[in-house]
Amino acid sequence: MHRFANPARFLRLSTLLLPWSAGATVVLLIVGLYLSLFGSPPDYQQGDTVRIMYIHVPAAWMSLFVYTNMAAAAAAGLVWKHPLADLFAKAAAPIGAGFTLVCLVTGSLWGAPMWGTWWVWDARLTSVLILFFLYLGYMALVNAFDDPQRGTRAGNVLLLVGIVNVPIIKFSVDWWNTLHQPSSVIKMGGPSIDSSMLIPLLVMAGAFTSYFIAVVILRLRTEIAHRKIQTLRFSVAGDGATG
């Protein structure tokens, strides 16, 4: 892991990885959209609203996946003072927030016709809303300090505290009564969803994952550039003072 702590090495690796992840995103999105809109059947109970699932469920997975990665990076940043780890969490946060927003709104759009309500304050929906606010809170906190190092440190602590929400979201449908259906893909005994729907779901999840990799690389490069700008500004200012 420490081999990747070097920004120069990361930049070289990311140059290699970026075209592949961008290409994979395009291909998987085309296949995934075709399968979810044309290649899969309407549900026998839910009709065509089931097609919302191919956006909603991958977005929900990504909201948890991105947060878990950010929290792991936050731990690495706090323990090893790993410079890229701090930047990773900062770079990933808006993407995670975006996926969470998509998850919440598509869930509402699915709930309205199927449950008869846009929103209920039950465990699953409320805990995902809290996840969304954790993302927003992290982004606000990190940018609230003049010293970016202090900002990321405070943000890292928030991320680690907020990680308790992740298992709560995952198991909320088992622990509490809720309108939300329990897991049908990641569960004991294998998925209980037909392959004609499971395959488009997994392809869309793959597309979202490669999208995340591509965009987080772009954003990490931006963060590295910002750090560089900071040191350059500092030394230019130093020139002006001493020179």
Partner: protein, 82 residues
Amino acid sequence: MTDFFAMGGYAAFVWPSYALAALVLLGLLIASLKGLREAEATVKALESVRPARRRAQSAAKRSAAQPETDSAPDLPGKASEG
């Protein structure tokens, strides 16, 4: 085709879901690309102010290592703007 767009009567729920996802993903991508381009432009601009001094520094280091040929290179690199 009309059947397809009608989504079994659920068009008002299905299409906004896809549209929102497209909007969020595209928006983030465009914003990230724009941010990267701006940051890289700033780095380039700052580095064009800087290299004079860096060259001078390494020259100073070199002349310190193998002392005194003739006059030390004068230090340009005075940043007139921040």
